[in-house]
Amino acid sequence: MNFFQAEKLRLAHLGLEITAALPEGQFVALLGPNGIGKTTLLRTLIGEEKIREGELRLFERPIFEISPQELSTTVAYVPQDHEYPMHLRVVDLLRYAFLPSTGWFRPLPPEDDPRILRIAEGFELSGLCGRALGNLSTGERQRAFLARACLQTPKCLLLDEPTNHLDPGGVKRFWTLLREAHAQAHFSVLMSTHELSMVREYCDWVLAIGSAGVVYCGKAAEFFQSPLSETLYSKG
């Protein structure tokens, strides 16, 4: 099954046409120069942007058919500039991962819920649970957002340049943790990024977008053997 499938898809405000399919369970890097529409594509997948033309399917279902409840059990999302209340504690952020299952009235799980403790440990957040998000370093905060998304146990994880403001050590750590989580939970990942060396090391698939549309959609290894990885970002 494909977790992502686009047929002659045209996004809001953008000229390019996307036709691509990504098989379930793969760790896919979404590549392309700045402003090409990576963020818009991810936002379209969660219903934040409208489709102008064509079709977009998530796990074989057209996205306009997917209800908010269904979306919450399918997709977890880590946006580029993640909003967060400064005073929110890490543990409460993690508890929010259970909002889809508790709905409006049932209480969220307690702070010492084993699932929360386990994920906090896995993402090296155990010592930070009581700290406010505003008091964390960027790297710690991004790990917390990633942990929240994984704790939601999605079938598919969408990430929008999550390592943007991290130092090289932090970038490496983030990718390693994400890869480990992917290996354990087998969810599909679609992650926009500019870190080609990390993509080469960690990703299964590459979906590369240029100004004309999809430039490459296939195995990561073959992408790096082709000249595309060099020409993708060159102008004109």
Binding site: R43, I46, G47, E48, P68, Q69, L71, S72, T73, V75, A76, Y77, V78, P79, H82, E83, Y84, P85, H87, L88, R89, D92, L93, R95, Y96, L99, P100, T102, G103, W104, F105, L108, A132, Q152, P154, L158
Partner: protein, 321 residues
């Protein structure tokens, strides 16, 4: 709940009860339950309804302030920021100035509701078109509306100054009227359900506080919640403002004080404690406004700022240290 939170609850409740005994006229303990005595009438027929009214106003303003701060992701948001209350004020003052409709009458409240309804419709329309990336546009639009309405208000005031009695002027700066038990009952019947629904909407607000995209993948649709909150809060605000005018400061500062002091884990905890603290704070301010310069009653808006301002700065200062 931690002992610190219990302390805050107990402290607030005892402050509220204590304030029943404060006023220009001392209450004789022996006559408290003696039907027909002066103390009995002052306590149960004047002060208690007024206290209940102030509890509702203070609590509601603080809870609304907290709601708007999360909804618009803006720490400076407060209940009056969107111009809905200015619309009420304009309706009431224009009613008195142009048509001699007395303040606090049903007709006056009707005019206020009408203007607020128009303002809210505009705001809902803007939110529908602003989309999730432009939440700040809703606030900006509301602030713009606020300015326009306020300047029309001042225009009317400067032309019709001599036609306006003390009524609207006092009311403009925030004023607590003496209110009967039946009046309070009607207000509670209207406002408590609204506050209850807004409390329940704290759940989606938790999700919305992480951004609209994340909220969507947590199973809520942010635009729909925003519009519901806008409509419900406007009705609530309207009901309160027609009685009290605009009492500043409570809605802005109490939610921040709760955050600083108690670090609530979610919107609902924030709302509950904001309500309680806002109620206690406004009750104390109201009592002070009556006893500081008897028999004059100071405008309550001035008292809230005078005692709340320094207290808040102190709290902030201790956190910064």
């Amino acid at each position: 709940m931690s002992y610190k939170r219990w302390l805050w609850v107990l402290g607030s409740l005892s402050l509220i009860v204590l304030c029943l005994s404060l006023g220009a006229e001392p209450i004789k303990a022996s006559e408290m339950f003696l039907k027909g005595s002066a103390s009995y009438r002052i306590l149960w027929e004047l002060r208690l309804p007024r206290l209940l009214f102030v509890v509702l106003v203070g609590g509601a303003l603080a809870q609304l302030g907290g709601t708007y701060q999360i909804l618009f992701r803006n720490p400076l948001a407060e209940p009056y920021i969107l111009g809905v209350s200015s619309a009420v004020v304009l309706g009431v003052v224009a009613g008195e100035a142009l048509f001699h409709v007395p303040v606090l009458s049903t007709a006056s409240a009707g005019l206020g509701f009408l203007c607020a309804g128009l303002a809210t419709t505009l705001l809902v329309f803007i939110s529908l078109h602003a989309g999730s990336r432009q939440v700040e546009r809703i606030v900006l639009f509301g602030m713009g509306l606020n300015f326009v309405l306020s300047s029309i208000l001042f225009l009317i005031l400067s032309f019709y100054n001599q036609h306006i009695g003390g009524g609207s002027l006092r009311w403009l700066f925030g004023h607590v009227p003496w209110i009967s038990f039946s009046g309070v009952a009607v207000l509670y019947a209207l406002c408590l359900p609204l506050l209850g629904i807004l409390y329940v909407l704290g759940r989606p607000l938790d999700a919305i506080s992480l951004g609209d995209g994340v909220a969507r993948t947590l199973g809520f649709s942010p635009n729909r919640q925003r519009i519901w909150i806008l409509i419900l809060s406007s009705v609530l605000l309207c009901a309160l403002v027609t009685y009290t005018g605009a009492i500043g400061f409570v809605g802005l500062v109490v939610p921040h004080a709760v955050r600083l002091a108690l670090r609530p884990s979610g919107s609902r905890t924030l709302f509950a404690f904001s309500f309680l603290l806002g109620a206690a704070f406004l009750v104390v301010s109201d009592s002070l406004s009556r006893i500081l310069l008897p028999p004059f009653e100071l405008p309550i808006g001035i008292v809230t700022t005078l005692i709340g301002g320094p207290a808040f700065l102190l709290l902030l200062w201790r956190r910064v240290q």
